[in-house]
């Protein structure tokens, strides 16, 4: 049985682990902390700027999408969709036309796939919208959302605030607090009762993403039915509930499929030179106690880019890869990393590893550095993922391609 170690438990690492387990490999997933996915909006952005399916064929050859191939993207998305469907958390949308979803800032987020409760807020649907916040929740301002959407040319019928049945409140409520409260059926009953009279005549209501955590599907459907309207969610400040829901779902699925998950340790690459071909022998984990060696036939790096720990930007102006110290494509000198304005495309966004079509990191000679080392996700150079609106699409496409290349 092929033993594979996946480093990083964001969207890329989780999907790659599940895919590898699905192909019969023995998978160990190692991660230091939970990150990117729990902070994300929980949607799958493929190409936010325009129609994904059309834009992808026109990309440069070294763009991660081109390297992984659109076939990997389609297959990866189908795989994710099937997983989410199984888990009763279906995603809506496709890559031929983006959904247009309102954000908590009142801007428009174009995305390929979104969970059902978010997708009902699609602004291409012309059903009139009312935006509502809830009392005691400081991360969502309905008036602000409505005003900004109005500026963006979307008409919003009304912005209002709804009360929550809380006896005493000893601290600020986080989105997760309210979502967990709504998981409780008594609380849900009470909410339905006190909201009902305030919402007459409304067809579609946008709320911050608080509609349940563990029982989300039930909370969403039940509340829609009781209030007699379409309810949709708008993701709030991180950690956002849709991000947490997707993380929880994939994490569980991975465990269920026998993936051995190790959370906590710092990971360092291990190359012992025991074989003739240039290969890695595994990783070394810095656990709470000593270092523990994990040998593997294949190592997949899904450690992410700048914001996620895969790349380390050093004071001395160098950029390093954090696990195997692989060569990174970047501009020497700190002043070249950023653009003059924060609103421009940032040069650092494109930094990362140069890889081939098997997603093996390449050396200066253009050859794979190690034959059994692969990488996926934000670690790969050549994409400004936030600017393109391609973050999750790249994660999924490259995870799929890397596993396919590694396991055949």
């Amino acid at each position: 049985m092929t033993e594979i170690v996946v480093v990083g438990a964001g969207l890329t690492g989780l999907i790659a682990s599940i895919l590898a387990a699905d192909r019969g490999a023995k998978v160990t997933l190692v991660a230091r902390g939970r990150g990117g996915l729990t902070l994300s909006h929980g949607c799958i952005d493929v190409w936010g700027r325009s129609t994904p399916s059309r834009a992808l064929s026109r990309l440069r050859m070294n763009h991660p999408y081109r390297l992984a191939g659109t076939g990997s993207l389609r297959a990866g998305l189908e795989f994710l969709r099937a997983l989410d469907h199984q888990a009763d958390y279906p995603f809506i949308g496709n890559i031929s036309r983006n959904l247009r979803l309102p954000t908590a800032l009142g801007t428009i987020h174009t995305t390929a796939l979104a969970p059902k409760s978010l997708a009902s807020g699609d602004l291409r649907d012309k059903t009139p919208i009312v935006i509502a916040g809830v009392d005691g929740f400081r991360d969502f301002y309905p008036e602000f959302v409505a005003a900004n959407l109005h500026k963006a040319g979307v008409s919003i019928d009304d912005a209002l605030r709804l009360p929550l049945p809380l006896s005493t409140v000893r601290r600020d409520r986080y989105a997760i607090d309210i979502a967990r409260s709504l998981d409780d059926s008594h609380f849900l009953d009470e909410v339905a009762r006190i909201w009902k009279s305030r919402l007459s005549g409304i067809k579609r209501l946008g709320l911050p993403a608080i509609l349940g955590f563990a029982n989300h599907q039930f909370v969403h459907e039940e509340l829609q039915e009781r209030l007699g309207l379409t309810l949709f969610e708008i993701p709030t400040l991180p950690p956002s509930i849709p991000g947490l829901r997707l993380e929880r779902l994939l994490h569980r699925k991975a465990m269920e499929m026998g993936v051995f998950v190790i959370e906590g340790p710092k990971v360092l690459g291990r190359v012992d030179g025991s074989t003739a071909a240039p290969r890695v022998s595994g990783v070394v984990l810095q656990t709470a106690g000593g270092s523990r060696t994990l040998t593997a036939d294949i190592v997949l790096l899904a450690t992410g880019g700048v914001m996620h720990g895969g790349l380390i930007f050093q004071q001395d102006g160098r950029v390093r890869e954090s696990v195997f110290d692989l060569p990174v494509i970047y501009d020497e000198g700190r002043k070249h990393w950023t653009a003059s304005s924060p609103l421009e495309t940032q040069p650092y966004a494109n930094y990362g590893l140069s890889v081939n079509e098997q997603l093996q990191p390449l050396g200066a000679d253009g050859l794979p550095i190690y034959t059994n080392l692969f990488c996926a996700g934000g670690l790969i150079a050549g994409a400004d993922r936030s600017g393109e609106g391609s973050r999750q699409g790249i994660d999924i496409a490259t995870a799929y391609r890397a596993i396919e290349a590694a396991l055949g």
Partner: protein
């Protein structure tokens, strides 16, 4: 040298820790690990007292540090600050008592049956509740009439070890208070398993790891215990003899807390740390070869495995699972909760009893709903607590492995 307080600068306020915190998710008395920890600590001068009483709600489960993607020692900051708070206020007689399981064991084991009878009687529990604020529904351990060390006198060795002792295939067993005074049978099983796998097991001098003292803010005494253990165990580690424990909380103290929470960072403590193994970590890492050769006897049962929060902090995953999964006929369900609520001595306190129960509620419900025959967990206080609240038998995974190895 890692100083928890210096890691506050790495905190981005992302609230990943807050959304994962088992306590903050059931009570708003607790502001959450971020708010009382890195956020508050940034505004404190060194040696300035922590000013947030809400800190005392922290159970010390360590999930916050585990999930932090930026290496902030959230739990460690909070444990230190909590201790500071305790030392500046009044300390309770109760906290001094419940944090000394070794002393209690030593005093009570000669009169074990009398002590057990009176502790299990309702009037005594009522009285303990009234006078000492000990949660009258919390399970208290039963004392064994003969300690493990007494029963295995021939295996007890002095420190430093005899120069004639061969370090090869030798294991120094850290039994902890629990298997010495309360569950010696478990200690004997662990020793038998190790012996069957070809190990020579010795019992080095040791005392209570000090974790209960640490959790109750009595850091000075905890440090004394720690220093004693380090000086007794280091000579074994220096000889290359691994230290193996069956209680995931004791072993975490040896690996991590002595150095990071209690600030005892030196060559000796580092050596003890890197030489300490959780029982199943040792089996899967050091004895993998022997384990692979074993033919487990079938065991037709459905069980739920709950990895204790303290085990998670080891950063080694759940090694018991990999062995349990090999037992034919054993159907495993994985706990969906990160903590059972007891957190060592937290749930024993009357003022914390409701919160501790609420933390464990989803776990208890899952156990009941899945209709398992028994539950498995590696820490003693978790086992007693889960058994009390589910009415199910709760075993250490090694008891089941012993069964499958035909030892019992």
């Amino acid at each position: 040298m890692i100083r928890p307080n210096l890691t506050t600068d790495q905190c981005l306020k992302c609230n990943i820790c807050t959304s994962a915190c088992p306590v903050a998710s059931v009570t708003d008395n607790f502001l959450g690990p971020k708010a009382v920890g890195p956020q508050a600590a940034r505004y404190r001068y060194p040696h300035q007292p922590p000013s947030i009483p809400s800190l005392t709600w922290c159970s010390g489960c360590g999930i916050c540090s585990l999930v932090c993607p930026h290496g902030v020692a959230v739990a460690e900051i909070n444990i230190q600050a909590k201790a500071d708070l305790v030392n500046r206020g009044k300390t309770y007689l109760r906290d001094h008592l419940i944090s000394r399981p070794e002393l209690l064991g030593r005093l009570a084991s000669p009169v074990a049956s009398l002590a057990n009878k009176s502790l299990s009687s309702r009037p005594t529990r009522w009285l303990l509740g009234k006078t000492l604020a000990i949660n009258s529904s919390a399970p208290l351990p039963t004392f064994a009439s003969q300690s493990l060390r007494n029963r295995l006198r021939s295996k007890c060795v002095a420190t430093p070890p005899d120069p004639g002792l061969s370090a090869d295939q030798t294991v120094a067993f850290f039994h902890g208070c629990s298997s010495n005074y309360y569950e010696p049978e478990l200690g004997i099983l662990a020793v038998t398993i190790l012996e069957q796998l070809g190990q020579n097991v010795i019992l080095p001098p040791q005392k209570c790891c000090g974790l209960p003292l640490q959790s109750n803010g009595l850091l000075k005494t905890a440090r004394r215990y720690a220093q004693a253990n380090i000086s007794w165990l280091a000579p074994f580690a220096r000889r290359g003899i691994p230290i193996v424990g069956i209680s995931t909380s004791c072993t975490l103290s040896l690996k991590h807390d002595y150095r990071i929470v209690l600030g005892l960072q030196n060559d000796e403590s580092n050596l003890v740390s890197s030489s300490t193994f959780d029982f199943f970590e040792f089996l899967t890492h050091q004895l993998a070869h022997e384990i692979d050769k074993l033919d487990f006897k079938p065991l037709i049962a459905e069980a739920m495995y709950h990895p204790p929060c303290q085990l998670r902090s080891h950063g080694i995953g759940f090694p018991a699972l990999t062995i349990l999964q090999r037992i034919p006929g054993l159907q495993l369900h994985l706990s969906e909760s990160e903590c059972c609520g007891i957190a060592g001595t937290y749930g024993i306190k009357q003022e914390k009893s409701q919160v501790a129960y609420d933390v464990g509620k989803t776990l208890f419900e899952q156990a009941r709903r899945s209709e398992v025959d028994f539950v498995l967990s590696d820490s003693e206080t978790c086992r007693w607590w889960i058994s009390k609240h589910t009415g199910l038998p709760v075993y250490h995974p090694l008891e089941i492995v012993a069964k499958a190895m035909d030892i019992v």
